[in-house]
């Protein structure tokens, strides 16, 4: 079996990841907005006698590197030299999409062109002559519809036919003078083995003439290429004298000239799709209206949390019953001993206590997927851009912040789309303030216990507080540390599309599988360790209260009294055991720190363990309050007994939102900022702002509620 490597390249939001998922059977995240893929992803599949390694590259409009993910795409194509580049273009925007194609042809790579979104091409009344297009470009061309899996087999046949053939692509003709310079410089490059080992001479010559800020500068700095540099300088002067303009601009114009010629030859627009344009425009007239766009967005967000809380609660009830049933089974079937305690108190309390929130997470991400796939999220970025720019932050930051709602780690990585390094760092540092899905179970549990009917609204405000703190922090950082000016933001607004059921199911499956794998991994392990720390060392002598209860039990007159005293005795023993245990001692040690913001030592311990993964806060509370899944009412009672009230509950959620990010997020901040200083800032600033706001909220809450 022959092995080949194919890279998927194309503009953002042209359907690369959709095709990648179709071919490899993967379930990578796709969305109807640009910038979803920021890392290269690899998948494998077989076709005939070929074993194909498929690389999904981040979307890019050109090979002139402006942001990290664009550099990643270019470097992979130029340096790693895949056997093929499968260039996906959006058939409805052929003129714009072919710009990257012309640059790819210049790299000398083997190219196959897939014209995607053919259903929309037809709807817009566009007709493309693919045979002429293939002849003019000199590369195999295949129309496809990745979303509906149309043309995929034919595309694979094209790839198979073209495998191991030399490229016959037609490069752009930049005109006699520029071509002469390219040839002269290319000829010189061909003599330099070190360069030809890495680069196609024609491509490198073009990059040198256009003054590529990385490659050309690197060549210029090297004395070994003195002759080449002299020749390049001479040619640039010559060309500049002829054109009296920036050469990059001149060559861009030549490329567009070439593309326009091609489009004129092979594209005919039979009718304008006024109805479709009208639909998108009509919706945008309302959703992007200067006065009501923001209230509409706030209303959608609020409804999202209301639905998440109310609908999710129903399904949660079923899981709760299942976990209760399992606890009862273990209780009845197993003899008394530490293993039984571990299964009930550690596994079922810890993992079961979190598992009940799976429906809420699924509902939240189903709604988000609908908003994302329909194209509304791109509009939200546009709406937020006005506010972001007012505060001096780049509009693209919002995309990264929004992705942080799923998980802060991909949110932080999404900041790579920002071209300005300072804006990127600011975005990375504010991302941990976004309420990720791991915080949702904490909100649902605590808000459900202390705020009843208003839980949805409370959760909505927590998300808003996160965004406000993130924006304020960004403003602070931009004012004092990163003073550079923000570059303007142009967000492509895709047409509204109705999300497919398959895509929505994939989104939900992505989230469910992430959640469940975390359940079976870090949360299970964390729950076991927390249980062990609360179970050992074993108490040898109980207090006088236990002795008193024992004597009351022995003198109980009837069964009802006996049951009541047995329950009281068990609770007292459990309380004394936990206070005597390792975690109890740790809790008592940290209690003074948390006391001013209204938390008992149990919440303090839960927050400490939550640094590993935020869900563990819920596991810890379930283990320490021994509530397993018969949750909210009992938890409220137990927490209230420890001194918790609605004011402290709200400040607990604020602290959970803002304090130290989880371990994986800390690692992501360090990786992306490459600075220990800024990572430490992220940790301590989070604690400080979390503590301050929790303190204020606790005091205000107590004053308002008269506690």
């Amino acid at each position: 079996m022959k092995k080949i490597q194919i890279a998927l390249a194309g503009n953002p939001n042209c359907g690369k990841t959709t095709l990648f998922n179709q071919l490899t059977g993967s379930r990578q995240h796709v969305g109807n907005w640009p910038g979803v893929t920021v890392e290269k992803k690899t998948g494998f599949f077989h076709y005939k006698d070929l074993e194909i390694e498929l690389i999904d590259l981040p979307g890019t409009y050109s090979l002139s590197p402006n942001s990290i993910e664009e550099i990643l795409t270019r470097d992979f194509i130029v340096n790693d030299k895949p056997d093929f580049v499968l260039n996906i273009v959006d058939g409805t925007t052929l003129e714009r999409s072919l710009y990257l194609t012309t640059e790819l042809i210049d790299t000398g790579t083997n190219l196959v062109l897939a014209v995607n979104m053919m259903d929309e091409v037809a709807k817009k009344g566009i007709e493309i002559d693919f045979i002429t297009l293939e002849n003019l470009l000199g590369v195999p061309v295949m129309p496809i519809n990745a979303k509906k899996e149309e043309g995929i087999t034919q595309l694979l046949d094209k790839l198979y036919e073209s495998a191991f053939k030399t490229s016959t692509a037609h490069s752009v003709n930049y005109g006699e003078d520029i071509e002469a310079s390219i040839e002269a410089i290319g000829c010189q490059i061909s003599c330099l083995e070190e360069l030809t080992a890495h680069f196609n001479p024609r491509w490198l010559a073009i990059r040198l003439i256009t003054g590529d800020k990385y490659i050309a500068q690197a060549v210029r700095r090297d004395k070994a290429y003195a002759t080449l540099n002299q020749l390049t300088a001479k040619q640039i002067v010559h060309l500049k004298t002829l054109y009296e303009d920036d050469l990059d601009m001149v060559m861009t114009e030549k490329r567009f000239g070439f593309i326009m010629g091609i489009v004129r030859e092979c594209v005919v627009v039979r009718k304008k799709d006024f109805s479709r344009l009208d639909t998108t425009e009509k919706i945008d007239n309302i959703l992007l209206n200067r006065f009501i766009s923001f209230p509409i967005f706030a209303l959608i967000l609020w409804s999202t949390f209301q639905l998440t809380f109310s609908l999710g609660g129903i399904a949660s009830g079923w899981i709760e019953e299942l976990v209760n049933l399992l606890s009862l089974l273990v209780h009845r079937l197993m003899p008394v001993g530490p293993l039984k305690d571990l299964l009930i108190g550690g596994v079922l309390s810890g993992v079961g206590g979190i598992l009940v929130f799976l429906p809420q997470i699924l509902i939240l991400f189903l709604i988000i997927a609908i908003l994302e796939d329909s194209g509304y999220m791109a509009r939200v970025a546009f709406i937020m851009d006005r506010m972001m720019h007012f505060l001096g932050i780049h509009g693209k930051s919002f995309i990264s912040l929004f992705m942080g709602i799923g998980c802060n780690v991909p949110g932080i990585m999404a900041a790579r789309t920002l071209e300005n390094e300072e804006d990127r760092k600011v975005t990375v540092l504010i991302n941990p303030f976004m309420s990720c899905s791991a915080r949702l179970p904490i909100y649902v549990l605590i808000a459900g216990a202390f705020f009843g009917q208003n839980a949805g609204t409370v959760i909505f405000w927590l998300y808003i507080i996160g965004v406000l703190v993130a924006i304020m922090t960004a403003k602070l950082l931009k004012t004092f540390f990163f003073k550079g000016k923000s570059v303007p933001f142009v967000m492509e607004l895709p047409p509204y599309r109705s999300p497919t059921v398959k895509s929505l199911l994939i989104h939900m499956w992505e989230r469910a599988s992430q959640f469940l794998s975390k359940m079976g991994g870090i949360i299970l392990v964390g729950s076991l360790i927390i249980w062990a720390l609360s179970y050992y060392p074993r108490i040898s002598q109980y207090s006088g209260k236990v002795t008193a209860l024992e004597s009351q039990l022995s003198t109980a007159l009837n069964d009802d009294e006996k049951t009541a005293y047995t329950k009281l005795l068990e609770d007292q023993k459990s309380l004394e055991q936990i206070e005597y245990s390792a975690i109890g001692r740790l809790g008592k040690a940290v209690e003074p720190f948390f006391k001013p913001i209204g938390f008992s030592w149990k919440e303090g311990v839960a927050l400490i363990t939550g640094v590993v993964a935020k869900e563990i806060v819920v596991s810890t509370l379930s283990v320490l309050y021994n509530t397993s899944s018969d949750s909210e009412i009992k938890l409220k009672k137990e927490m209230s007994n420890s001194g918790m009230n609605p004011a402290a509950a709200f400040s607990f959620m604020i602290f959970t939102l803002l304090y130290i990010p989880c371990l994986a997020t800390i690692a992501a901040v360090l990786r992306e900022t490459r600075s220990v200083r800024w990572t430490l800032f992220s940790i301590f600033y989070g604690i400080a702002i979390g503590y301050a706001l929790s303190f204020i909220s606790n005091i205000l809450g107590r004053a308002i509620l008269g506690i």
Binding site: I71, F199, Y214, D222, P338, L342, V525, I529, L663
Partner: protein, 51 residues
């Protein structure tokens, strides 16, 4: 030592090992790999922070 205690020790031991592995994995992900780019291909000292 009874069977339940033995099993608890084994389970907690495994949990401890998995925790250590998790921390090592997080630490490994922090090893800053110099990204490959045209400048690296030219064997130049590429400064990632400039990118």
């Amino acid at each position: 030592m009874d069977m339940q205690t033995l099993l608890v020790i084994i389970i907690l031991g495994a949990a401890g090992v998995m925790t250590i592995i998790y921390f090592i994995k997080q630490a490994q992900s922090l090893i800053l790999k110099k990204p490959e780019c045209g400048c690296c291909a030219l064997k130049k000292t590429c400064k990632p922070e400039k990118r």
